[in-house]
Symmetry: C2
Subunit: 81 residues, 2 copies
DNA sequence: CGTGTAAGGAATTCTGACACG
DNA sequence: CGTGTAAGGAATTCTGACACG
């Protein structure tokens, strides 16, 4: 599901992370929720997956910059899979 | 997806219905969203499908009581399909 | 760097009621 | 019966900043 339907509170419940962490990943250009007219964030299930992956990688020692680099590479290599 | 993750505002966007209509279906025991600790409704994609089906049936002339009866029958007949 | 927190405001949602019919 | 609406309050989310390190 790629439709952006969840508020940040639901994402917190699903991931076990804090709002602060989730907003920070966005600040570092790792997640891209949509916004309501009022400015509230809306996430998809794919975003939730992505957020969990980010958190896992960070626990493994990666910082947000490195994760951004990782994403770039992933965007360029699917041809070779 | 049966996880209850959407606020009523998102359901309005997805269905084109008003909050009033969606809450009324719940009042008539046709939809069963979960609640946050604070009391806010949370709907699943299945709920959205259900709500759209309810609205279609009502446009065909059914009232909420008849739809409740229909649901009962549907719960008893899947054996025969 | 990544995250916690208090601050103040704004968007979102809630309930119960009155209205029409 | 099904839906609109104004009312008042409460839950949720937002941003920018200070803090620690």
């Amino acid at each position: 599901m790629e439709s952006k339907v969840m508020s940040i509170g639901v994402v917190c419940e699903l991931t076990g992370l804090t709002e602060r962490q989730i907003r920070y990943y966005e600040e570092r250009k790792l997640v891209f929720p949509e916004r309501t007219k009022g400015g509230n964030r809306r996430y998809s299930f794919e975003d939730v997956e992505s957020i969990q992956e980010i958190h896992r990688k960070m626990q493994e020692g990666f910082n947000t910059f490195e994760l951004k680099e990782l994403k770039k590479k992933q965007r360029c290599t699917p041809i070779f899979r």
